[in-house]
């Protein structure tokens, strides 16, 4: 209730009777602690309960760079942002409106990253203000000084003090106390919360559950007694059954649903948790997770298994993808069906391992020396993550090709509810064909028009051939004669055009014509659509389109683009700023999808891209679109631009 000063800050003093209830259609809250204090468990539990109660939810993890960074430093900030809505929430939003911080240093980290709304309410552990240690008090005061630049409303919470009434070491318990605070503030159902706590501690002894439930109650009680406000985000009861999970879990389930037999991988953030999830459950379902000695072996094992008739995939991120480059050329050349999941992360090279970026598109498309056509699909929601491997597996087998699935760190750890899928046996591959090969059939008996051919599988009598990455003819014989390479290249490329002929043009979000069309792909979809909605509500003629297929590109793009006065992409990858020194229209390096679309459609597509190491915010995207709208309108009015 007090405004921040460097002086001690009073705890909430208003009596409950004066409680204000904020009725909103959405709200954004963060819980942030030192790494190891469990803010993530708290936040994810709160998110799950909110989803179960019928709120739209999107959660994003705040992950420190080190395993255990020094406590009480900005680098230690670990936690989660939960954005709740009455309707579906598709992205992490702009700023947090409520923050629960375990100390002032981790709070500072969020403040410095501009994560907090200017008038955010902050609930913060009170013990540091009056700490015995001089330097801690000094740090607290300095932080309060720094925070006073904003209109935050800071409320002190005696977390440690309250928790000590139940546990000896509150570092392992504060998080459930905070869960209790949040439950009280947002009016979460106690039974559901307790069930969630029980689930979170299912692998521990029952006493552990008991103690945490008690801490939860303590938090609820404290909030009810001391906090002068409540937030009510109306829920609309689901008509469908819903499930809630993050994108990597969804990918793991997708592998099972697609009838995959083998996940061959080497650990790499942020892809590894797909295999962690699968390692737990895959063997129950006839599947194997093989952790290979490196990424080269990982994809090699998958290719061997696929050659032998099983359905295999590999999952990786940037540096691992780079190592697989050569083998993926072999797979393309020899038409081995294969699915490659790339959970993109930030930066070139080792970069930003835990952060989001969409910078592997061109590497996936063009990484291989020589011509290696392939299919590239990018899911844009957690629900699409659940379905994507079913599609990918089917295309890989039907077209004898490599299908890349591009997700990213934002989808990987983002949590969102979606309608419960109804598993179907048609989603799954059948067992490998072991019937004898028909007389006269050839291992690459390309259909002249489509490039498609029938695949032979070891075990099929009469089908014996030797697969080779050298230039080969229909019989898989190595042949260097003129024409043989041309023909193989033709046939492999043709398949991509055939697939394209089966695709639908992308639908627009909003009107199908107007001033500005924003094109995006992958995890930015929700953010872009939210930004577009804001512009539309301001009266602008703006729409967006999300591309699911990046190779082949969906049909009708040129027509679509022609219906707008200006087209721009919004991407989380690098482009030169138009007005930076030395940058000209001629030498500007543009966003990856932008580059692709320009080459293919010759439309003068602009791009707004950023590589901040965090998801884009609807407000920033809206600003970028607004600038574009302004210049289009200015041009139309003949204004000097």
């Amino acid at each position: 209730m007090t405004t921040p000063t460097s002086a001690p800050v009073a705890a909430g003093v208003l009596a409950p009777e004066s409680t204000q209830v904020l009725h909103v259609r959405e709200h954004c809250v963060e819980v942030v602690s030192d790494s190891g204090e469990g803010a993530q468990k708290c936040g994810q539990s709160f998110g799950a309960v909110s989803a179960k109660m019928g709120n739209g939810v999107w959660t994003v993890e705040i992950i420190p760079a080190e395993i255990q960074p020094p406590a009480r430093t900005p680098a230690s900030a670990s936690g989660v942002r939960i954005r709740l809505g009455t309707q579906a929430i598709t992205n992490w939003g702009d700023h947090a409106e409520l923050v629960v911080a375990f100390n002032e240093q981790v709070l500072l980290s969020r403040h410095r990253q501009e994560a907090l709304a200017d008038d955010a309410v902050i609930l913060i552990e009170s013990m540091w203000a009056e700490h015995d240690n001089d330097s801690i008090r000094a740090a607290w005061n300095a932080a309060m000084e720094e925070l006073s630049a904003r209109n935050y409303r800071i409320i002190l919470v005696p977390m440690e003090e309250r928790c000590l009434t139940v546990v000896d070491d509150p570092r392992r318990g504060k998080n459930m106390f905070v869960f209790g605070l949040l439950a009280a503030i947002y009016g979460r159902d106690t039974e559901r919360c307790k069930a969630q706590i029980a689930y979170a501690f299912r692998k521990k002894k029952p006493e552990i559950y008991e103690r945490n439930a008690e801490l939860f109650d303590l938090g609820c009680a404290w909030a009810r007694e001391n906090l002068p406000f409540r937030v009510e985000v109306a829920t609309e009861p689901y008509t469908d059954d819903m499930v809630v999970m993050n994108g990597n879990t969804a990918l793991g389930m997708s592998a099972i649903a697609a009838g995959m037999d083998l996940c061959s991988m080497y650990p790499i953030t942020p892809a590894t948790s797909v295999s962690h999830y699968l390692s737990e459950v895959f063997e129950d379902a006839g599947g194997i997770v093989h952790q290979a000695e490196d990424e080269i072996a990982a994809v090699g094992v998958a290719i061997g298994a696929s050659f032998a008739g099983k359905v295999a995939f590999t999952v990786t991120s940037g540096p691992g993808l780079a190592l697989k480059t050569e083998f993926l050329g072999l797979a393309a050349m020899t038409e081995v069906p294969l699915v490659v999941v790339d959970v993109q992360r930030g930066g070139p090279s080792t970069g930003l391992p835990t952060k989001v970026e969409q910078s592997d598109l061109l590497a996936v498309l063009y990484g291989q020396p020589g011509d290696a056509p392939k299919v590239v699909i990018a899911p844009s929601t957690i629900e699409e993550c659940f379905h994507v491997l079913i599609t990918a597996r089917r295309i890989a087998e039907a077209f004898r090709c490599v299908v890349y699935v591009l997700t990213d760190a934002n989808l990987a750890t983002g949590v969102q509810p979606f309608p419960r899928p109804k598993p179907d046996s048609n989603w799954m591959a059948g067992p490998p064909d072991q019937d004898p090969v028909p007389e006269g059939a050839r291992p690459y008996d390309w259909d002249d028009r489509t490039g498609l051919s029938r695949r032979f599988i070891p075990g099929q009598a009469g089908g014996m051939y030797t697969l080779t990455g050298l230039v080969h003819d229909e019989d898989s014989k190595v042949r260097y004669a003129t024409g043989v390479n041309q023909r193989g290249c033709d046939m492999r490329s043709r398949k991509i055009a055939v697939l394209q002929s089966t695709l639908q043009p992308p639908k627009t979000h909003g009107e199908s014509h107007g001033d500005v069309l924003v094109v995006g792909w992958g995890s930015t979809r929700g953010t872009i659509e939210e930004a577009v909605d804001r512009l539309v509500s301001e009266g602008h003629a703006v729409s967006s389109a999300n591309l699911t297929f990046l190779s082949p590109l969906e049909p009708g793009l040129k027509d679509l683009f022609a219906r707008f006065r200006s087209v721009m992409t919004v991407e989380v990858n690098f482009s030169d700023e138009k007005d930076a020194p030395y940058i000209t229209d001629e030498n500007r390096r543009r966003g990856q999808l932008c580059t692709l679309l320009r080459a293919q459609t010759l439309v003068d597509i602009d791009c707004w891209t950023r590589v901040p190491g965090q998801p884009l915010r609807p407000a920033d995207v809206a600003d970028a679109i607004r600038a574009n709208v302004r210049s289009v309108t200015a041009d139309a009015n003949g204004d000097p631009s």
Partner: protein
């Protein structure tokens, strides 16, 4: 490589259906006098002896002269990329334990670019046969130094003579935890070569066979002495070892070596000299393709598991 690990009983199967010719592919395109030809014949004989169904047999290779091997057989083949025969074979066998899998590699392929996979394949101990066709040189790319090139031997990349002492593929293999079958033979000792392949095939686990292989084009001088003078070669003999009467008659230098003795095997490998035989054999090690074998499933099984998982994530 089969479920049995007896090294005796090498007689042909009772009811011969496939002849050696049934396994022959197109004429092999190696140089005349190349040792690879003799390995190919031994492999065909092995296939015939065990009456392996051509469609249930897969030869995997990397890139190099030796890696052309699968093209010259009428089984399934996978002519992969340089250095990567072992991950591919591991994938094939993991996916399809019902197939017989062989990997054929050159010394550059296996010991240089493929070294990490080699070490790890020994660890995995997948039930398959790995053949290292070691001509002490990069053949296909025209005479560059390989890890096994003798010190001082000139090549196109080290024209003043190979700089390092040659790597000993036997001692490296024997250094890896879980090694289960390590043998050495030579292309010019066809009986011994065959007997070795046979023992390797019968071994349950990863059978690593180094084959000394002549390359008359680039390293003609290297094995000449050993070929011309059988006394230059020592044959390891033991009741648990590889038995071939012809070889033992030709090469009168015998050395008694118990292949179950790992330390002795390492010491022997280290000493160098040209020794043919079974250095080490432990048929008891678990095979990765067996420990990892999962029961089959029906779509209904999977649906049941998916439902369980969706329940766990239900809102």
């Amino acid at each position: 490589m089969t479920a049995t690990c007896t090294l005796t009983d090498c007689g042909a199967a009772p009811d011969v259906e496939y002849s050696m010719d049934d396994y022959a592919g197109p004429v092999a395109r190696w140089c005349p006098g190349c040792g690879d030809h003799s390995v190919l014949s031994a492999a065909q004989r092995l296939l015939a002896t065990h009456q392996m169904a051509p469609e249930k047999t897969v030869f995997v290779s990397g890139i190099g002269c030796s890696s052309r091997f699968p093209h010259y057989l009428r089984t399934y083949g996978f002519h992969g990329i340089h250095g990567r025969a072992l991950p591919i074979s591991t994938g094939v066998k993991l996916a399809r334990p019902d197939l017989d899998v062989f990997a054929v590699m050159g010394d550059g392929d296996c010991c240089s670019i493929g070294a990490a996979h080699w070490i790890h394949a020994v660890r995995y101990n997948v039930n398959m046969v790995a053949l290292l066709l070691d001509n002490n040189i990069y053949g296909l790319t025209k005479k560059q130094t390989s890890p096994t090139t003798p010190q001082g031997f000139p090549s196109n990349t080290q024209p003043r003579g190979s700089i390092l002492p040659p790597m000993n593929p036997l001692s490296v293999t024997l250094g890896v935890t879980n090694a289960s079958f390590v043998a050495q033979t030579a292309d010019w000792a066809p009986q011994h070569l065959y007997a070795t392949l046979d023992a390797a095939y019968r071994h349950r686990g990863f059978a690593f066979v180094r084959i000394l292989q002549r390359c008359p084009i680039w390293t003609a001088s290297l094995f000449r002495d050993a070929v011309q003078d059988p006394a230059k070669v020592e044959v390891l003999v033991h009741e648990k070892g590889i038995h071939d009467a012809t070889t033992e008659a030709i090469h009168t230098n015998h050395l008694d070596h118990d292949p179950s003795d790992l330390n002795a095997a390492r010491a022997l490998a280290e000493e160098g000299g040209m020794r043919l035989g079974l250095f080490f054999h432990d048929p008891t090690n678990a095979c990765y393709d067996e420990t990892r074998r999962v029961p089959g499933y029906t779509p209904e099984d999977r649906i049941a598991i998916l439902k369980r998982e969706l329940d766990r994530h239900a809102v």
